[in-house]
């Protein structure tokens, strides 16, 4: 144990050394404008949730009552986990604090996929003992339904410090839906979410994250993914509601042969929203593949959409696609697709397009009898449709629901 304490102390020192280090991208958030607190939310179990809270969670894909279509559930309000349960053998769901107490070996995964000294936001999570979810599928086990996790920001000016660990053991399969949301008020708040994913040999993880914030909230998720041989990580990110400021750039590293990573992001920025959203994949082993696909719509907000693929091993393949649609006069989309290859024989490509809806397409649909607004809505719906391979029907339905729920506001 002394060694563990020493390592923990080193992490704290590292964190302290970067307390003023801004992120390399996105608006710099002044942490002093917010409050670090252990347990602001007064709710201690699900029966105390109001119907409005539940509605907010439902909009983020979290079903707390009457659902038999979840393999497990986790709910954290501000900095306190208030509920976790599991409905399937071979799947573990608990708070990270509890998991750290239960499993000594978990220290080996702590701050391994995300560096504690990444920036002041990761430092804040470490120094304020962020709790979060621990989700694990045991070797060979496959989750029948998704595990749902909800991170709920309830208190005014609170910093929600979250540290999540997801481990898919060898040849297991895990589907997760995470809904991040706030109380139904426009209170300022800051969500700092560290998520570390470990996908072992032959394992598969699909991770669907639906954000449902408010215009006063700032959000800084920090995600790292390590994928071993023949592993698969499939991430779907949906943001169709206003948020004050959001910056994230999850990094997936394929370290085993034939590992596969797919990032799909769908985001919308109304006036006042400032998004800087990217995805990075590093292909470090032979035959690894990745696809990074983003769809961004602005109706007046500012979106930077990034993509980065790096190929460092033979026969790796990657494709990056950033597409942006500007609806209205004042929105801005800045697409930054980047590729880096370090040896011959790799296959990396990208395409990026930003623009308004093509009049020719609208008229084509109008010639089939659709009104102008119907034609525009059909094109926008099509733009937001990303064909996702390997996603269970129930998650595909959740994504569709989240996107469709916002279409009317969008138009």
């Amino acid at each position: 144990m002394p060694n563990v304490r020493k390592v923990e102390e080193e992490k704290k020192q590292l964190a302290k050394s970067v307390l003023n280090k801004p992120a390399p991208a996105g608006q710099d958030i002044d942490l002093n404008q917010y409050v670090n607190t252990d347990n602001t939310a007064e709710i201690t179990d699900l029966s105390q949730l109001t119907s409005l809270d539940k509605e907010q969670m439902l909009a983020a894909g979290i079903i707390l009552e009457g659902s038999n279509q979840r393999s497990g559930s986790f709910l954290q309000m501000d900095n306190r986990p208030v509920h976790f349960s599991v409905q399937q053998e071979g799947i573990e769901v608990m708070s990270t604090r509890e998991a750290l107490a239960k499993y000594d070996w978990l220290q080996d995964y702590w701050w391994k996929a995300v560096a504690v000294d990444t920036d002041k936001y990761t430092a804040n999570v470490e120094l304020h003992q962020g709790d979060g979810y621990f989700i694990r599928s045991l070797p060979g086990q496959k989750s029948i339904f998704p595990v749902q996790a909800c991170l709920y920001l309830a208190g005014k000016r609170v910093i929600q410090n979250v540290h999540n660990i997801v481990i898919a053991e060898e040849n297991s399969e895990l589907h997760i839906i995470t809904g991040c949301t706030t109380a139904p008020r426009n209170d300022p708040g800051l969500h700092l979410g560290v998520s570390e994913f470990y996908i072992k040999k032959g394992a598969k993880v699909t991770f669907t994250m639906i954000h449902n914030w408010n215009p006063e909230v700032a959000v800084r998720p920090r995600t790292g993914v390590i994928v071993e041989e023949d592993g698969l990580y499939l991430s779907n990110y949906i943001l169709m509601k206003p948020v004050g400021s959001l910056q994230m750039n999850p990094l997936a590293r394929c370290i085993g042969e034939n590992a596969v990573v797919r990032f799909n992001s769908i985001m919308m920025a109304p006036p006042g929203s400032n998004l800087d959203v990217g995805s990075k994949t590093i292909l470090d082993a032979r035959g690894c593949r990745t696809e990074v696909i983003s769809r961004a719509i602005t109706t007046g907000g500012f979106i930077t959409t990034r993509g980065y693929i790096e190929g460092n091993a033979p026969e790796v393949k990657g494709h990056l696609e950033c597409r942006g649609l500007i609806l209205g006069e004042r929105g801005v989309i800045y697409a930054v697709p980047e590729l880096k290859g370090t040896l011959a024989g790799i296959d990396l490509s990208h395409e990026a397009a930003v623009g308004k809806i093509a009049e020719e397409e609208v008229e084509y649909l109008m010639a089939r009898g659709l009104s102008r607004s119907e034609a525009t809505a059909t094109i926008v719906r099509g733009f937001l449709r990303v064909d996702i391979e390997g996603l269970p029907d129930v998650l595909e339905a959740e994504i569709k629901k989240a996107v469709e729920a916002s279409e009317r506001e969008l138009m």
């Binding site: 020719e360 397409e361 008229e363 649909l365 010639a367 089939r368 009898g369 094109i379 719906r381 449709r385």
Partner: protein, 244 residues
Amino acid sequence: MLDIENLSVEVDGKEILHDINLHIRTGETHVLFGPNGAGKSTLLSTIMGFPKYRVVRGRIIFNGKDITGLPVDERARLGIGMSFQRPPVVRGVKTRDILAACLKQRGDGEMIRRLAEKADLVDFLDRDINYGFSGGEIKRSELMQLLAQRPELALLDEPESGVDLVNISLIGKLINELLEKDCPIRNRKCMGLIITHTGYILDYVNARTGYVMCDGTIGCEGDPHEMLATIKEKGYKQCLTCVK
């Protein structure tokens, strides 16, 4: 019935069509010949109502109603449909979605499947419309959409261009179904105006009247097969002298 009276049309401030007169009765199919750049597609696009094509003189009467100022979607809902020569790709919008939109309340998934089988496009139903389609697939898809739409006036812009010999007979079959060629003319509800550059489609589809358009003007009118024979023999150069 379609009546085009003294129609002149400009695009981007330049007059392209001059004083066009054309009359198609319900059940009839007419064919428009002409060299590239003659204004054939401009005429079809003007009848369909695309805003880029501005009517400066004359009018278009469809089934007794002056539609000259109506927008595209209203014309479509009145019963005018068009098969595009080069339709746009609409990413994310599936062929199935467009068929459903064309059918409105008149059909279901089974109807969509039957239409796709007819056009040999079942495997294309869940693909983005026109994305990666070959020339023949585009033409079949356009006609399939019109079959779903069931227009009273079908405007077909070069339905045989870019189509191989195997596909052209299927194209002909789809057009004949669209234009109800198996019914006696008096029982048909649909009329057609077909643009053809090569005339190949006449081997598969019967047409009553042909026109030759050159430099934005209809030069002559007559039996389409005779016209085609003349064009094949003398080329459009002869037609140009005739128009002048």
